[in-house]
């Protein structure tokens, strides 16, 4: 029996047992649809960042389901349960480390993916809608990261929640969901837990569906400066992502073992003594400058600008060097945000919630 494959790379050629089995499966699941052609550069690292992020989301969902078995989302027990996970060498400790590091890496790969899209002009016609869906996915990823920070219910998580509440108050009626008054008998921690494990992942899966459908509709964007000749079956791209998955799982497992995440002390109300996780540090600088409104407005302005990118950069040119203004603005904003983050890291924080202004 031969084991040759057709040019698309999926279907065995022979009519033997394996061929018959494959046909039987394919007739029912339509797997040969995954052999549609994609450009060769889809398998480069830069063009695989979205796929790597997807692998990360899968790791986060699986590890999150395991963690949920050990975590009661009530203020009286939350911090203690996370501490219990981290004592000794247990499944929960390793899984928490995997969840923590996968979240850090996913945030990084999502940001890098967005930068790749921007610098290769992949958001331009006809892909503007998918850029906006991508901005929504970035917001949801950050939302998941934020709610995850609160759940460990240590001083850092508690201060994050206080900021959450303060922003809710600032938003008035729009922020009612973030306020204790929304459901006085249910602790805000419980509602953020529900957001973390069901509302935000649900929205994320919806937007991911839209993201993939639009990629399938418009095809993988061309590489500026020309793509290598020839195409690959999409299944080959999936196989390639499988190799990245091995590296991803290996890296997060190694980090979980070597650098397990810490848990802060049980929270004390009315003090601001921690600094936020790295992704929020630039916002922390704005907060230090003008208080909680700075935090809100900097976020609103940043995401509005991101949504407006396809409107602001409308030239058909995709090469970063041939659209110097857009490239320069992006580089300057990146440097500015990095500088703000570093500055926030080295300067003393200020009290803005609780007893502060």
């Amino acid at each position: 029996m031969t084991t040759g494959r057709d040019p698309a790379g999926m279907r065995p050629r022979d009519a033997g047992t394996r061929g018959g089995l494959w046909r039987a499966i394919d007739e029912r699941l339509g797997l040969s649809e995954l052999t549609y052609p994609v450009p060769r550069h889809a398998n480069s690292l830069a063009y695989s960042l979205g796929g790597i992020s997807l692998i990360g989301f899968a790791v986060l969902i699986i590890s999150g389901v395991v963690l949920a078995q050990y975590y009661p989302p009530v203020p009286e027990f939350a911090n203690d349960s996370v501490r219990a996970m981290m004592r000794g060498i247990s499944v929960a400790r390793i899984v928490r480390g995997v969840h923590y590091w996968a979240a850090q890496i996913v945030l990084l790969t999502v940001l890098l993916h967005m930068l790749r899209i921007f610098f290769t002009g992949a958001f331009k016609m006809p892909r503007e809608a998918n850029w906006i869906v991508g901005v929504g996915l970035l917001a949801l990823t950050i939302g998941l990261f934020f709610t995850g920070t609160v759940l460990k219910w240590d001083q850092e998580g508690f201060e994050a929640l206080e900021h959450n509440t303060a922003i809710g108050e600032l938003l008035g009626g729009l922020g009612h969901w973030f306020a204790h008054a929304f459901a006085e008998n249910v602790p805000l921690l419980v509602r953020l837990y529900i957001a973390h494990v069901s509302i935000l992942p649900g929205l994320l899966l919806l937007l991911l569906g839209a993201h993939f459908w639009l990629i399938k509709t418009h095809g993988i964007s061309p590489r500026p400066g020309g793509s290598p000749a020839g195409v690959l079956p999409f299944a080959s791209h999936l196989t390639h992502l499988g190799k990245y998955a091995l590296v991803f799982v290996g890296v997060v497992l190694a980090l979980a073992v070597l650098l397990p995440p810490t848990v802060g002390p049980a929270p004390v109300e009315g003090i601001e003594v921690t600094k936020p996780p790295w992704i929020f540090l630039p916002l922390f600088a704005f907060e230090n400058w003008i208080g909680i409104p700075g935090l809100l407005w900097a976020t609103v302005v940043f995401f509005t600008l991101l949504v407006c990118v396809p409107l602001l950069d409308r030239s058909p040119e995709v090469h970063a060097r041939r659209r110097p203004a857009a490239t320069a603005v992006a580089v300057v904003v990146m440097i500015g945000l990095a500088a703000l983050g570093i500055l926030a890291w080295v300067t003393t924080g200020a009290q803005h919630v609780g007893g502060g202004m």
Binding site: M86, H240, V247, P265, V332, A339
Partner: protein
């Protein structure tokens, strides 16, 4: 011109960040209990914030609402703070508010498996807790809960095996990617 505008915008962003050092002074709480809890929390998270802790302890000593606080121990804690003995300060502060420390479940305690029966009548008011000093184990537990829990690589067999598995996964993945590196180039 556009590049110049971009540079100006970036300069503005960096400039406003630089003003972060202008801390907004918050209004301190009035009751001594909250002030002492906050001072203890500050020192637990960041022993370098002794200035903020001192400010709160001094305010606690002059507070008119001192219920639940042993001011003598706060005074001793303040003296220990002057000597930079943070561990002693934290022990004294926990002792100073011991009868009113928010009860924490013992570490590893599980929440009740079933919800309590629905209440059909008015809930009786619980008796106020009798003021009693913390026992040494209680104090140790309270101290532990108020400290960050830092764990690291202990070189146990399980950790070593997991590390070997992770390195094997990385090696296998990188080798597979290396073998197919030509695919993206054509």
């Amino acid at each position: 011109m556009r590049v110049l505008t971009a540079v100006v915008v970036a300069g503005f962003l960096v400039g406003i960040g630089a003003t972060g050092a202008l801390a907004h002074k918050g209004k301190l709480p009035e009751d001594a209990l909250t002030l002492v809890r906050q001072a203890s929390g500050l020192l637990a998270q960041n022993p370098g914030m002794s200035g903020e802790a001192r400010e709160r302890l001094e305010a606690a000593l002059t507070s008119k609402k001192t219920a639940g606080v042993n001011l003598e121990q706060v005074r001793e804690a303040l003296a220990a703070l002057e000597k930079r003995d943070i561990a002693a300060v934290r022990r004294l502060l926990l002792a100073a508010i011991a009868p009113t420390v928010v009860p924490q479940p013992s570490e590893g305690t599980k929440p009740p498996a079933s919800t309590p029966a629905p209440v059909v009548g008015p809930i009786p008011s619980p008796a106020p807790p009798a003021p009693m000093p913390m026992s040494p184990p209680q104090m140790e537990l309270a101290m532990r809960m108020a400290e960050p829990l830092k764990v690291g690589f202990t070189r146990s067999t399980v950790e070593t095996v997991l590390l070997a598995v992770s390195l094997a996964l990385i090696g296998f993945g990188v080798a597979a990617l290396w073998r197919s590196r030509g695919e993206a180039r054509g």
